[in-house]
């Protein structure tokens, strides 16, 4: 079955695959996670706001993003970001935006909608008495959120936030549709096509993703037991 396979292609290219492709994928995952959680938390606070217009804007944004496929969102921002950039700097022509920045903006804005829903249930899991107690102590909204609600909400939601980050790590592979972003799958498929070794390369890619995602989710499960707040 494997007689006419040539796994030599992996030996020749694995260092390049990891130092270029996987480095890009991981950097994008981590930066998009940080940006996505920050923006997502802001969205969650907006959704739970007493002000109707603020909560309407956040709710519409989240529902819109959650009803379209990531591939379509990737196309949207790939074409839209140069125009927005031109609008911001006041240029008359669309400006060139690097592959990394374009992908980063896409993933922050897309994943924020999913992180928002996680943070919303995290904030709602904090008993209302604590919010009242915060206000009774004379705190304002930001002090109460920053010192009382959000630290506990984060701690409760760490396992789910990390699980979503593993989903994000796998989602980064979809930038393959742009063809010009050097993530792990794109780089691997370029080498595979150059050397005519699609079968060996895609099996290798699958194994790498499996080992990394499985390892990470096992770590998350262990962490889950350690960070749980004992009540």
């Amino acid at each position: 079955m494997f007689s006419n396979f040539d796994f030599d292609v992996i030996q020749r290219s694995w260092l390049y695959l990891f130092t270029t492709g996987m480095k890009f994928t991981l950097t994008l995952t981590v930066v998009a996670m940080i940006g996505g959680i920050l923006f997502g938390t802001l969205l969650a606070m907006m959704r739970l706001s007493h002000s109707k217009p603020i909560s309407f804007v956040a709710t519409s944004y989240v529902n819109l993003i959650r009803s379209v496929p990531l591939v379509l969102v990737i196309f949207w921002f790939y074409f839209l970001v140069p125009y927005i950039g031109a609008w911001i700097v006041g240029a008359s022509e669309p400006i060139q935006v690097g592959a990394f920045s374009s992908a980063l903006i896409t993933f922050i804005l897309f994943e924020a909608a999913y992180y928002c829903e996680i943070m919303r249930s995290g904030i709602q899991s904090i008993p209302r008495g604590q919010i009242s107690a915060g206000y009774a102590l004379g705190m304002n909204y930001w002090q109460m959120m920053g010192n009382v609600v959000l630290p506990q909400a984060f701690r409760n939601m760490i396992p789910i936030l990390l699980t979503q980050t593993i989903v994000l790590f796998q989602d980064v592979s979809l930038v393959y549709v742009l063809g010009s972003v050097p993530d792990f799958v794109t780089v691997a498929s370029k080498i595979a096509q150059r050397d005519g070794r699609l079968v060996e390369m895609y099996m290798f890619v699958a194994v790498v993703y499996f080992v990394m995602s499985f390892g990470l989710s096992s770590l998350v499960k262990k962490l889950q037991l350690r960070v749980a707040i004992i009540r």
């Binding site: 496929p69 949207w76 799958v185 099996m203 993703y209």
Partner: protein, 250 residues
Amino acid sequence: MHYNWNWGIFWQESPDGVSTYLDTLLAGLKWTLALSAGAWIMALVIGTVIGTIRTMPNKWAVRVANGYVELFRNIPLIVQMFLWYFVMPEIVPASIGGWLKSLPNASFITAFLALGFFTSSRIAVQVSAGINALPRGQKLAGTALGLTLPQTYRYVLLPMSFRIIVPALTNEFAAIIKNSSVALTIGLVELTAATYSMREFTFQTFESLTGATVIYVIISGIALLLARWLEKVIAIPGFIAAGSTNTGGH
């Protein structure tokens, strides 16, 4: 900043000479719906079987079912599509491989298999969660009444757990429609791919993308309304949906 808007583009004739660009998008939508519906049925059947096995007393069966779930959950869908499309025909015997490659709708069949197996692992997780959410006494009561284990599952546990996990399953159904867009990487011209080709022919980038976005929002709106109605009809008083608190994933 220059961009020439032309919303009339949807009613203009597309390069095939007979239909409009709107028809191009609707033809893509047909593939999206066919792929999602087909893969959904496959995923529901396999997911129910695997999800049930994960709650059985036999340790080895549970391990195999858990392995199945981990395998399909930890590889990105796009890589799974590549595995079915490029790798599978090469590692099966040459005669079968050649037959697979010569099928008329190879990319549809491949995408159907990839999406079906991928979603089945996610449904399996929900089905086991539903069964585990039931009070332990239900299984004991079933067997105490003289039902065999398969009968207990068939008449007591599965009907109850399916009614509990309806919200989680509707989430998965919304997800399968969105995930079907990954099939464009192996050459299936579903809605997102149709949008992209419309853009390449017309250069009306934002009109094409808006058209597809509106269609996706309408489908998920319809799915959401159906789901709300189904939840109302089917919900069991006193049993809060186990899956509805699970907000991760897409």
